[in-house]
Symmetry: C2
Subunit: 240 residues, 2 copies
DNA sequence: CAACGGAAAATGGTATACCAAAATTCCGAG
DNA sequence: CTCGGAATTTTGGTATACCATTTTCCGTTG
């Protein structure tokens, strides 16, 4: 028996396509078409779509094609607010529960980010950044917390990725990461929480700036109603 | 087109069965058998199981029957800790964002609980209690928050239900609910947060007490139908 | 008698066929 | 030329059949 792989694999692929922009926000997800393209049957494709729906990367509409989520800034801000609460709790718990080895690993990730910052592709850098934040959540030794935190990170993946792509805050990011690590090493919840809050505040600022710029420059391509043809276009681009 | 109903309906039914104890913690969920029993095909049954898995009411195991979740006290405590963070944020935001009408509705629910406390079935009372807490989260006007909060409430449904069934804390519950409502009416985040924290602290105490008593009295009743050996085995592994 | 091995049954994952509702298209009336 | 409605097409939901792996249990063997 294939170890529960196919639908998960499909979900991973779809997620990548969404984040890379191959499937634009607002574009419909036609399970039949995508299943054909990926050469799988509709059943695992359906499951994959459900997985992404649970991550809020796609929106399920009753009796309609699911569409790629296209959250407004306010919706993103709401998610960031929840993420902040989760990360603050993570930081606090990690100060108590993390092992020295875990903290050392978090520092290692921080240094890996610093070392790679100007060297690697944004997406790769972004992956390491995700690991950094996930590692902190896991250091809380609270599975419910780290899982939920991970889910929100996934949900905000696109927004965070677009923010990271700007690369306008190298120094700030590294400084804040460093401060968080230092706070963990000193087991100082206050310090950790302060820095995490500042970090997320800056993230939100970055996203706001990007969306403002994007609106002016037609970046977020709203695709509200007239995207029926856009659908075909996007689907066509997909195979390219 | 059936409005995406069947799998959701099945999920609701399964959830009820789980919470009512018809499907004991640790019992395997055989999609074929259950589909037969409910007279539906395996496809929507599968989806229903995934829905419940996402709520962490059932555990998906690779290449094995899913089983009804049987969280340890520590796992429940972890979830409650996250729930607390979510409810604290909800309360704080609700003080700023809630409309007067929403707060009035929350008060109405509180009074309905007080009125019904000694009159109705535990499960019914519990439903109203859920509505009360959900209403507060929704009053935050943060969809990501209220949705996540709702998910955790669902995840903790069984533990909270078992706690509520004891009915040992009528006065405390009503007093705390009243204080939360008062805090909202005064738009006093400090008061609201204090009371919510106390409320959840008490919940956790209640759950701990129940589980302690249950362990002594063999409460986690083994599976009713013929899957006794598998149930015992799995449950044993789980807690280990 | 216990331990091991293999055949058979059971089970979850996948593919496909069918159905009903919704969206779209197309034709005819005004 | 426009508008309305019916037929067609499209699409998601459901049922069922098939496959691969896992589990179970019995017979063999040391």
């Amino acid at each position: 028996m294939a170890r529960q792989a196919l639908s998960v694999e499909i979900a991973d692929q779809l997620r990548r396509d969404i984040l890379r922009g191959k499937l634009a926000p607002g574009a419909p997800i036609k399970e039949r078409v995508l299943a054909e393209e990926m050469d799988v049957s509709r059943t695992p494709m359906r499951e994959a779509i459900r997985i992404l729906a649970k991550e809020e990367l796609v929106l399920l509409r009753p009796a309609r094609s699911p569409i790629v989520a296209n959250p407004s800034f306010n919706e993103i801000a709401d998610s960031v607010e929840v993420l902040r609460a989760l990360e603050l709790l993570s930081g606090e718990l990690a100060c108590t529960n993390a092992t020295d080895a875990e903290i050392a690993q978090i520092r290692a990730l921080h240094e890996r980010i610093a070392e790679a910052y100007d060297r690697v592709d944004t997406l790769d850098l972004f992956e390491i950044d995700m690991q950094f934040h996930i590692a902190i959540a896991q250091a809380s030794h609270n599975r419910a917390l780290s899982d939920t935190h991970k889910a929100f990170l996934a949900r905000l993946w696109r927004a965070r990725y677009l923010s990271a792509k700007q690369r306008r805050s190298r120094d700030r990011v590294l400084r804040q990461h460093g401060a968080i690590v230092a706070g963990l090493e000193q087991r100082d919840p206050g310090l950790v929480k302060t820095e995490i809050a500042a970090h997320l505040e800056a993230l939100l600022d970055n996203i706001r700036r990007y969306l403002d710029a994007g609106e002016a420059a037609d970046l977020p391509e709203p695709a509200p109603s007239g995207m029926a043809p856009a659908c075909a276009t996007t689907a066509g681009e997909r195979s390219a």
